[in-house]
Symmetry: C2
Subunit: 471 residues, 2 copies
């Protein structure tokens, strides 16, 4: 797939995408025109069929010939185009442990399950096997952009970038920086090595994708407890020098917060640790933030940093429930992260679903308006998984919705219609059952709650077809 | 499928099942011998292959001939046999609304979404379409036994029984009794009608399955708020007369509890409402019980009633988090319910998963031992979905595990092994990725957290093949 050149194409039929947090637009008989660079050049309404779509070609200066026809991809009954999902926090290297966490919480989980696995990916054949599968899996779940954590290994991190580029998955690639409080078998030797190794992956990615059209490096201090102050200072300088984005963890777990307070007694808060080292800015992605204080929230808002909400992980490791509504009310940018393998699922759709559940868990015991306020709607959760995520990873205006000038990062979603007799007929149409009397809003809700990768029939990144459903 | 006679068969390979709440046994090179009545007649260990399995035939007085060979079904690599799931609480009639609940809570959810849908199933073609699909779906998810709520309609409830029997799904079939506080368009005219209509479905089921080998009636007062005291009294008498099981709801939602206190001022508690009407006994299945008091817990334990824990529903409708560990410590029988469509998923595996998450949500904010205590293990959650459920629906010793004398209600589970190159190859093997280095305990955890109906390759009830995976 990856080798295929992108051609002009028209996407025709039903589209759903977020206009804002509150507004999810569903348009029928629409047409989206995508050029050879993968950009949306026109969005038209009231386009009933292929002939109508073609009538726009002259206006766009598009010509087709017998040898070079322009492909028109039409959604069928119970199908719609939806923006590709944006996973703002996923540890590619931890994928083989998805579902394996027992009763652990963050700090013992790291030592018991995570560091041994990450360390094993210094073997490149292992890294290749794991990373190739993560990319194939996440693409199959409709993830068109992923902010990946790799490991400390430079060659394996570079390999992840190579594989994303080859598969055509948009990705931020982060080599984990960690020179403290990690096992001897898995840590950077010191701040200098950590920074030098990070520069090596930055250089590699610049060499394979100079414009960062698909893959881009992201500066990745693992989290404050595993970074010396010197390392954080160096990474802050590196950010200033390169202008690259930054990703890290914050306030996932209470014991972690206590540890940070011990390790950085000069900082007033966890957020301030990053801020005082030049690592809290508009290009920073903070994962979790479950237990941040009001002061930290204000600081995050002031700096323009984004938060990656990881509801599956936060429940699995019993970290806590994040007050997403409060962040949104503050105007903080919020996206969703699968946080594999703290989170058990590589599917952003599962994160959408569990963000809804998390907000309902937070509403329990609250009456009336406050309970209502805390609950996210299906539309809001889908926004977090697409447009909200785009803002968090610094790709606002480029991906996350279907607007002229944005790139065609999309998935074709299809659901099964139940026959009149009710039994199964024919091939596996996935786990969502449409009876035909549902409103489109309710069809989307059905997809959100029972959908899976079977409903993601095709996936495009920058106009290129990067996945088709296996059957 | 349904018409096929059951033949003797041997199941060979890897098996997993619960011996008790704490102990999940995984056996390799085992063989289970099932006779024409669908009963397990022998379980043998150290059976390496088909020849070894056949060597047991003389001991069992089994003979095979060229015309009538005995089928040996062997699990392959990364496959295992597992008991069929038992869904102790599912509203078959609400299935078309799975995933559709907005921000509602119990009482407004009933009026907005539920009663209109249930009422529409008085149309038999609609009921046929919905019920046939529920049965196909739940079988595909490995549900071999379901405690169904139908609607108030006698013909539609009878149809559900007919369809379960034809499909071979073991089921308890409950006509909803409700003569109070329900909309005019959807309620029993009074207690006499409610009881007469219930008797009609009991008679019908006796006529189609006289020994209740597959389908059995269950007396179903919807929940206390929708039943007059006269109706509850009549149903209590009917239970005494028939010895049939009872299912109802209890303490799902705080406003519901207040309503019950208003409606039944003479009762000290919600549980006492049922108890004082002769409806709380060893054959009673109580759904939810989220907010039961210590006194109610003691009463439930004393009466030997079982609880259907419905974690997906309780989160979706923000009802609350059930203290399952406390119930288990008390020795109360606990099973899992999908509670479609308060719960969005018809999959008991999803209920297993969310029971694990619910217990972890309850552990948040608790330190040390208390947090550990609240968390369920994968083994415990799987017990709830099988053997625990069997006890709740009065089928202990008959289904839920693989022991001699029990019936062969089982599923063959299979997972995909990742190739050395990591990419997708061949057909869709489901969403679980096995790398090959996992322990079997971890393979089961991977199934629990990322598995779906694609991993359920085949399903048997009472020795009969009732589902094979669609591809």
């Amino acid at each position: 797939m990856s080798g295929k050149a992108v051609e002009k194409a028209v996407y025709l039929g039903t589209f759903a995408h977020s206009k804002s947090l509150k507004e999810l637009e569903i348009a029928h008989d629409a047409a989206i025109f995508v050029d050879e660079s993968g950009k949306i050049v026109a969005v038209e309404r009231g386009v009933a069929d292929e002939a109508a779509a073609k009538s726009f070609f002259p206006k766009l200066n598009w010509t087709e010939s017998q040898e070079k026809p322009i492909q028109i991809i039409k959604s069928k009954e119970e199908q719609f185009f939806f923006p590709g999902f944006i996973d703002t926090h996923i540890h590619a290297s931890q994928y083989p442990n998805a579902g394996i966490f027992g009763k652990s919480t963050l700090l013992d989980w790291l030592n018991t399950y995570t560091f041994p696995l990450e360390s094993s990916l210094s073997s490149l054949p292992t890294a290749h096997r794991v990373y190739a599968r993560v990319i194939a899996r996440t693409l199959s779940h409709g993830t068109t952009t992923a902010a990946y954590y790799a490991t400390i290994s430079v060659p394996a991190t570079n390999l992840l970038a190579d594989l994303c580029l080859a598969a055509g998955q948009r990705a931020l690639i982060g080599r984990c920086c960690m020179d403290s409080l990690a096992p001897d078998y898995y840590r950077d030797a010191g701040p200098e090595e950590s920074i030098a190794h990070t520069r090596a992956t930055i250089a590699h990615i610049a060499s394979i994708d100079p414009t960062h059209a698909i893959v881009k490096p992201i500066i990745t201090p693992r989290f404050a407890p595993s970074c010396s102050s010197q390392l954080l200072t160096g990474l802050g300088k590196l950010q200033k020098e390169t202008g690259l984005p930054v990703q890290t963890h914050i306030s996932e777990n209470k014991r972690e917060i206590d540890l940070v307070a011990e390790l950085f007694p000069q900082s007033k808060s966890y957020a301030e640790v990053y801020d005082s080292h030049g690592l809290l800015g508009p290009k920073t992605v903070l994962a979790h933030a479950v237990h941040i204080t009001d002061e930290e929230r204000a600081l995050i808002k002031e700096r323009g940093a984004g938060i990656s909400h990881c509801p599956v992980s936060n429940a699995a490791l019993s970290s806590g429930m994040a007050a997403v509504r409060t962040w949104l009310d503050d105007g903080i940018n919020v996206g969703l992260g699968t946080d594999v393998s703290g989170g058990y699922s590589p599917s952003v759709l599962e994160a959408v679903r569990q963000a809804l559940m998390c907000s309902r868990n937070l509403a329990m015991g609250e009456g009336g308006e406050e309970a209502e306020r805390r609950k996210l709607s299906v539309e809001e959760a889908l926004y977090l998984g697409t447009l909200g995520g785009a803002k968090v990873v610094g790709m606002e205006g480029r991906v996350g919705a279907f607007e002229v000038g944005m790139e065609w990062d999309a998935q074709l979603v299809g659901m099964e219609e139940v026959g009149l007799e009710g039994g199964f007929e024919g091939a596996d149409g996935g786990a969502v059952d449409i009876f035909g009397w549902e409103s489109w809003e309710n069809k989307l809700a059905k997809w959100v709650f029972n959908g899976d990768d079977r409903n993601t029939l095709a996936v495009w990144v920058r106009g290129r077809l990067v996945h088709e459903r296996r059957s």
